[in-house]
Symmetry: C2
Subunit: 351 residues, 2 copies
């Protein structure tokens, strides 16, 4: 059975009745531990009118999911204890009572979750075309990660050609996309990442003009040297904290900062304080936080542009794929602690 081209409903042996899920067992303090998650088996939900069942083939992980595991209200709804962990997923419709989604269609689900099967009413589902790119790509470069990069640079930062751009968490899914999109737009790109392996990846594989290790004792000097006298026009920030503090110090007057993530704060226990604000004043910076939900008007442009760039090879899709449903907690914890290169994905065993 090929999940990417359909599911043969004529074979009843393929109709699983049990789904596996990871649910939130306890709210993590600091970096999550494997014990904070619990694998449970539940029945595949009933096919109510207007819904369909997706068998997940691949699950996409994102650092911001960490925010849902905390108890405090946030801009993302907290995951209740005992409920399935939030994530995007892609898979195939294996049963349908929905007029818009037919058996065998490939779909991506915004809230597919850490589970083998998800029921959807279609509101958070999107059909994907596996002839353009495999399902995993629709969770990363052609999904939320790529779209965050695209919208942040275009709509939030107002990127112009020939500018100098700094991207933090440059080896992550969003950072890798942001740097490549800015490069295609004719900018000079400096990536910041943690450790030699990631720095090499950002420079050699992703083709950034420069890549810097924020863990290096010479990081601030390296950054100043890499940026040159003109300073940084656009900073695409995924991490916050002391990395952002350093970058603000090398911004050019009237520079723009697109705040896409604050990974450095996601596992923090209590506020660690933020970057020094003086440069915001003295350099007359514009700092804007954003969420992709607020930029849906760019979706069609995004899919059109990225599809072209992926096809003509100017944009490299970079994926860090972990095999096996049972490895979801480890993959998530690894991503939060810096193990991944590119989009972190968990591929489920064939059904």
């Amino acid at each position: 059975v090929c999940q990417q081209t359909g599911f043969d409903m004529s074979d009843p042996a393929q109709l699983e009745t049990v789904r596996r899920q990871f649910v939130l067992k306890s709210r993590p303090t600091g970096v999550p531990k494997p014990d904070d998650f619990e694998m449970v088996s539940t029945p595949v939900p009933d096919l109510e009118p207007g819904t369909f069942i997706v068998r997940n083939a691949v699950i996409g992980l994102a650092p911001a999911t960490r925010l849902r595991l905390g108890g405090e209200s946030s801009y993302m709804a907290p995951t209740p204890l005992g409920s399935v962990i939030y994530s995007q997923s892609a898979g195939v419709v294996v049963a349908s009572a929905h007029a818009g989604f037919a058996l065998g269609e490939n779909v991506a689900l915004m809230d597919g979750g850490w589970q083998t099967h998800a029921r959807s009413d279609g509101s958070n589902a999107r059909k994907i075309d596996p002839t353009v790119a495999p399902p995993s790509v629709w969770l990363g470069a052609l999904g939320v990660s790529g779209f965050a990069a695209y919208a942040g640079l275009k709509a939030v930062a107002g990127l112009r050609p020939s500018e100098t751009v700094v991207v933090s968490a440059a080896a992550g899914a969003v950072g890798a996309a942001a740097g490549q999109i800015a490069k295609i737009a004719g900018c000079r790109i400096i990536g910041i990442a943690g450790g030699g392996r990631k720095v090499d990846f950002v420079r050699a594989t992703l083709g950034f003009d420069a890549a810097l290790d924020y863990r290096s004792s010479t990081f601030r000097d390296d950054l100043r040297a890499a940026c040159g006298d003109g300073g940084v026009n656009v900073y695409f920030d995924n991490v916050g904290g002391r990395v952002t503090d350093a970058v603000l110090g090398v911004m050019s007057d009237f520079g723009r900062v697109a705040v896409c993530g604050q990974i450095s704060a996601y596992n923090a226990t209590g506020s660690a304080g933020g970057p020094d604000w003086m440069p915001v004043l003295t350099k007359r910076l514009t700092v804007r936080g954003f969420m992709i939900q607020d930029h849906q008007d760019l979706q069609d442009d995004f899919i059109r542009d990225l599809s072209v760039w992926i096809r003509n090879g100017s944009f490299k899709v970079v994926e860090d794929v972990i095999e096996g449903f049972e490895n979801l907690p480890a993959a998530f914890i690894g991503m939060l602690t810096g193990a991944n290169l590119g989009k972190t994905l968990v591929r489920l065993e064939e059904g």
Copy 2:
């Protein structure tokens, strides 16, 4: 001799030849001390072609001048050791070899300095009309302080009627102006100041809808209560630091922050870190630093609007006037440590 209506050149006794100045003796660490300044006597400068001499009648103080006393490069040029302290001033032309400025005219100087007489080539001079308001007002409400408030609200924050606005350092010259301008624009205004005397002043004299003491142990709760469920649409920030950290926590989604000053950092020895940035992301805030120099296109609108509002009584001019040239250092230190209500001005003895 009335300095506000002219200076009679026919009386040679009025032509002083000695000017008094305060120069920078040592770069302050933390809050400046009186000893960091030195009073010197120098000759009134020669009247070179294309210049004129102003006898200062009043000197306006601003917290940001503290930045010029440090050695590091900043967005304001550092004052060299031994040079006159930077300030605005207003006075009368007492000698002129400049076609555009005649004897007896009232002028305001952007860089008049802590001195009894200043020479100008006209580039930093502006004629002022004492029939509209006394010279001191042209340094405050009709000068840089009022203009910073006006430009910050109009051009930087994009203020709209009926919004909830928070102003920090609300008892200071810029804060008092910002709150009153926002009130005139039909907004609900919450001021933040330090200590009961200032809080009373902000509420009773300036007429803000609410005033809060950031030194109170219940400050964060008070702020949350004052802002209500809708949150803060616009934050006009003069101070930064923990006050700003608290306000970011009560911003509404898509709120705007105009960063006009960072008083909490001006005396800091080393970076104390800034406010937590998470709300910038989660509330999709727009934070913009600005300087009035970048908004000169609004000057005419500003003078027109403020003149009307002062005349019709909807805008209260609030001045904290200290008498006597020799009291400049004490007035400056007092302002930096929170003594003033409204614009801090030093009036020079009659010449």
